[in-house]
């Protein structure tokens, strides 16, 4: 089942749609763990954990390929239309976005390895103080987005889209602080660049969570809201013909 009431006459079709959703959720849980572990590695300067994050990206790439194959199979063999077509397209995009979110966590892993694993670079943990809050926000957004996918819940999806605004604000505030730090002591430029990478990666995880939520809205309501401002996503707007 893809979460809608009333199954298809062809039950195998429901099973295929269900498998696709299960794969997206499984992939989502792995990415969520990647974000948590990458944030923890950064927090604790744990290069071993960072290496694990980088290594596990392969598992997510495998799921990415499997997900796209499932979508292709559904399109070729079932020729889905209406809500089924939207669902398959949305899940294809979800798979793509989760893979890209995982790539961001891999970047975090590399930063940890460079900052804490190289002798010539003395770590400055205080530079990553914004990353801690942003990582928590990104995890929360991704969790909510995955719940929205699981339940095909438009209200939750809208909340994710609107919640991403705060993460973006935190990102810009973090950049301003790093700029100030750099002005104060330009010798720390390498550290600051690494910290920018971290903030940008976490901000992108939030963007991918938002994309997931937007595709849930598309799957359920048939509305492409990617270019609609978050504050305009009222139920009246989504239900208008």
């Amino acid at each position: 089942m893809n979460g809608k009431e009333g199954g298809h006459i062809v039950q195998r079709f429901d099973a295929q749609l269900g498998s696709l959703k299960d794969l997206v959720l499984e992939m989502g849980r792995l990415v969520l763990q990647q974000v948590r572990d990458a944030a923890q590695a950064l927090e604790e300067g744990d290069t071993g954990l960072a290496r694990q994050v980088v290594h596990r990206d392969r598992d997510i790439n495998t799921l990415d390929m499997k997900g796209q194959e499932l979508c292709l199979e559904l399109l070729a063999t079932r020729q889905p239309v209406a809500s089924d077509l939207r669902f398959v397209m949305a899940m294809s995009q979800a798979v793509n976005n989760l893979e890209r979110a995982a790539d961001e966590t891999k970047k975090l892993g590399y930063v940890v390895s460079r900052v804490y694993g190289e002798n010539d670079l003395q770590p400055i943990p205080s530079l990553f103080q914004d990353a801690r809050h942003m990582a928590a926000s990104a995890v929360e957004l991704l969790e909510d987005a995955l719940e929205a996918v699981e339940e095909l819940d438009v209200d939750k999806a809208v909340a994710v889209v609107q919640g991403d605004e705060q993460l973006n604000e935190a990102f810009h505030a973090g950049l301003r602080r790093l700029a100030t730090f750099l002005f104060e002591d330009p010798r720390n430029v390498r550290h600051v660049i690494e910290a920018v990478f971290v903030l940008k990666a976490l901000e992108r995880v939030g963007d991918h969570a938002t994309n997931l939520a937007e595709f849930v809205i598309y799957a359920v309501k048939g509305k492409d809201v990617r270019y609609v401002k978050a504050e305009h996503l009222s139920s009246g707007f989504l239900d208008a013909g």
Binding site: G6, G7, H8, I9, V10, F13, Q79, P80, V81, A82, S83, D84, L85, R86, G222, G241
Partner: protein, 291 residues
């Protein structure tokens, strides 16, 4: 003839529900169809059409415009009334015992069911192609020439030759049959026979071509040729096609109408119907949840 049509004044009176005015015609009551039933450039208009086979109410208060140079697909489960509705458009139901048609149907603002309307002339203007190819057991040439002859369209043999050739060309069949016009039409393949039937309909210069499951007896290659032909014919004709193939409806039509138990449930742009239908019954049917 058992078909009877109500007058406009009949249509406006004695009816429960919301009376509505549309394009100057009073229709009997609001049918509840989701989507835009009217178009800016209608070739045919139906208003409050009901069809009864004896006691069976086969079509219920259907109001729908058929736009010029558009392909409109009628879809729905068996027995939903889509073929019945199609057959109202050129009065094919006249010949059905016990069939009664009420409401209003016009072709270019002329009442299709007017007493003055000659059904034979109407069926030249609104041609029909059936599920099973039905060429006459005559030479290919005569299959095409028959209509122009009985309608007195050609003044000379040369003119008739011209009509036969142009009709077969438009139907994409000329190159395949030009060297055997004297051979029976029934000797052609199924797909060629169907294109011959389309050429036969074209030969009498129709405005509208009705197609009732024209590809259901054809293989995918012959089906593709007919679908390509439908797309070309749209430049010059208005086409209404009944099909059980959702993919075919999606491929060939610009508008799609969904019928269910005699009601016109939803009509809209084909892309909208197949990506985001507004009525649950449409959604359930096209996604295969109907049952």
């Amino acid at each position: 003839m058992n078909a009877t049509m109500g007058t406009l004044s009949d249509a406006a009176t004695g009816v429960a529900g919301r009376a509505d005015a549309m394009d100057g015609l009073r229709i009997r009551n609001f049918s509840g169809t989701v989507g835009e039933v009217t178009v800016a450039n209608p070739r045919m208009r139906t208003r409050g059409v009901d069809v009864y086979y004896g006691d069976k109410h086969a079509i219920k208060n259907v109001t729908l415009d058929i736009g010029s140079n558009e392909v409109i697909a009628m879809i729905g489960p068996s027995g939903c009334g889509k073929s019945t509705f199609l057959r109202c458009l050129n009065r094919m139901n006249d010949t059905v015992e016990g069939c009664r048609v009420t409401g209003h149907i016009t072709l270019d603002d002329k009442d299709v069911y007017d007493r003055q309307m000659d059904p034979v002339v109407l069926r030249a203007q609104v041609g029909m192609v059936f599920q099973k190819p039905n060429p006459f057991p005559k030479p290919i040439y005569d299959n095409i020439a028959y209509g122009p002859r009985i309608h007195g369209i050609a003044a000379s043999r040369a003119e008739l030759d011209e009509i036969v050739e142009s009709s077969l060309r438009r139907a994409g069949l000329w190159d395949e049959v030009k060297d055997r016009l004297d051979q029976p039409g029934t000797g052609l393949s199924g797909g060629q026979q169907q294109r011959l039937c389309i050429a036969r309909a074209i030969a009498v210069s129709p405005e509208v071509i009705l197609m009732d499951e024209p590809c259901s007896a054809l293989d995918p290659i012959a089906t593709a040729k007919i679908e390509e032909l439908i797309d070309e014919l749209r430049q010059n004709y208005t086409i209404c096609i009944v099909t059980h193939s959702m993919q075919q409806a999606a491929r060939v039509s610009q508008r799609t109408a969904y019928f269910h138990l005699g009601d016109l449930i939803e009509v809209g742009e084909t892309t909208q119907i197949f990506t985001n239908p507004r009525h649950k019954l449409t959604e359930d049917y096209i996604t295969g949840r109907f049952g």
